[in-house]
């Protein structure tokens, strides 16, 4: 397979995914609205005390991001699976890992990036101190792609199942634990004036590792679901 063909396949897939996403924009807004609602529920549930909210802000925002991502992952491969497009993609002879990566990138751009862009609003609601805002955005910018990459494996494994959505969250949440720990620690450390570069560094390492490994696992899972 020539490099050029793979490259054009990648961009073609991305373009197609964006077109489809644009046509379904109402559906894509749901996880984001969910994100906003979940974060809103916390002050309502634990009380509006600024100190308390500031304390739990990194965790709450990140957990809400996890939940919203899992919601958007279920439909990652489903419509293509149901109408046979996925099968055609597998048969096309293109590297399935590349196809998986293209789909994951598209997912992040329409589902993960908006979370990053909404985070200042969430930080304001949760009373996150200013010192933490930049790191919050940074942690989400690095972390949400990892959520998409690992989540794609779960999405591919459950795409052929009837109620795969619920199972998807069970499968994927344990795998998200290290990311959650590192990201919230980075933000909390930044707020406290402590060093956070270690956490960010590890998160970047995780991003690179998942970028190189996850597409292959996703490809294997897609082949499995289609067999």
């Amino acid at each position: 397979m020539s490099r050029q063909a793979a490259g054009t396949a990648f961009t073609a897939l991305l373009r197609r995914d964006f077109l489809l996403a644009y046509r379904r924009r109402a559906e894509l807004l749901q996880p984001l609205v969910f994100l906003l609602v979940v974060v809103t529920l916390f002050p309502l549930g634990v009380g509006p005390s600024p100190g308390l909210l500031a304390n739990i802000a990194p965790g709450v925002i990140w957990i809400a991001a996890l939940l919203a991502t899992v919601l958007s992952l279920d439909s990652l491969f489903r419509s293509d699976f149901e109408d046979g497009t996925l099968e055609q993609m597998v048969l096309s002879g293109q590297s399935l890992a590349l196809i998986a990566l293209a789909r994951t990138v598209a997912h992040w751009l329409v589902a993960g990036l908006p979370i990053v862009l909404l985070s200042p609003l969430l930080a304001m609601w949760m009373n996150l101190p200013d010192e933490g805002l930049l790191i919050l955005i940074e942690s989400l910018a690095i972390g949400t792609p990892v959520l998409s990459l690992i989540g794609a494996i779960g999405g591919a494994l459950t795409v052929s199942l009837k109620r795969g959505g619920q199972l998807l969250s069970l499968l994927v949440f344990p795998l998200y634990v290290p990311l959650l720990i590192l990201a919230t620690s980075a933000v909390s450390s930044a707020v406290a004036g402590l060093p956070y570069t270690g956490q960010i560094g590890l998160m970047i390492a995780g991003l690179i590792a998942s970028m190189t490994l996850a597409p292959f696992a996703t490809a294997a899972a897609l082949k499995l679901s289609l067999s």
Partner: protein, 249 residues
């Protein structure tokens, strides 16, 4: 032909595996009961109480081996999963999915005994210490694999999905464990377990006997579950029909 290679080749045949494991199982149970009896005798009656923790340290003789088994079984599932995915060996698929509930059982034992150990020692039933938290995440990983397997209709496809998930989980497991350990040092100082890295021999021996005993339990339970699953999957085949008629006669 190399006898070891021949042995593994034979295990690929379900009727041969069924018969061979049937002969092996009673020995495994016998070994389990002997070692457990001796290990508990040493641990509960002979070994001393801990200087700091008192008598509750005796829970260690069931908590630690159970935790070791919970991790070993998941590791085996991942290794066998890789073999099963690459070489499509059916007996491996059966062993993987038969191991999962046993692994989950050991994880639950580790969690419950850990919690009961914590109450008299640190005053609380649950503490988010590194090991208990990692065990809890491991339990969710087990549940995920089991749920994934049960969601698929076709057994071989289900086993391949479970294998893939086991591999992904196992790759993440050390990362999860280290991140939880690190998270724990950030938020608390407490640590569960024996008081120091060197264990007195009078405590080490019962621990080792129990650890081996649990491995024998795993072997016996795994083989009996695998046999049942083979019967169920192969119920239309000749060897099962012959077996049934032999049993009724």
């Amino acid at each position: 032909m190399n006898p070891i290679y021949l042995f593994f080749h034979k295990t690929g045949s379900p009727p041969w595996f069924y018969n061979f494991s049937g002969k092996l199982i009673p020995w495994l149970w016998a070994g389990f009961f002997l070692l457990t009896g001796y290990g508990l005798y040493l641990g509960l009656l002979v070994a001393p109480a801990d200087y700091q923790q008192g008598e509750s340290v005796r829970i260690m003789y069931v908590h630690v081996p159970a935790a070791w088994m919970s991790m070993m079984i998941y590791g085996l599932m991942a290794i066998w999963g890789f073999i099963a995915l690459v070489w499509r060996i059916r007996i491996m698929e059966v062993l993987i999915i038969s191991s999962a509930p046993i692994g989950a059982a050991f994880t639950i034992i580790a969690l419950v005994t850990g919690s009961l150990w914590g109450r008299p020692t640190w005053g609380t039933y649950w503490v988010w210490d590194a090991r208990l938290t990692s065990e809890l995440v491991l339990l969710f990983l087990y549940f995920g694999v089991i749920a994934l397997y049960n969601s698929y209709d076709e057994p071989r496809k289900a086993a391949r999905a479970a294998s893939l998930m086991s591999i992904v989980g196992a790759v993440n497991l050390p990362i999860i464990h280290f991140s939880v350990v690190w998270w724990n040092t950030l938020h608390q100082g407490s640590s569960i377990g024996t008081s120091g890295s060197s264990i007195h021999p009078s405590m080490l021996w019962p621990l080792l006997y129990m650890a081996i005993a649990f491995k024998l339990y795993y072997g016996a339970n795994l083989l009996s579950r695998a046999r049942v699953r083979l019967l169920k999957q192969d119920h239309r085949k000749r060897w099962v029909k012959d077996l049934l008629s032999k049993e009724t006669s």
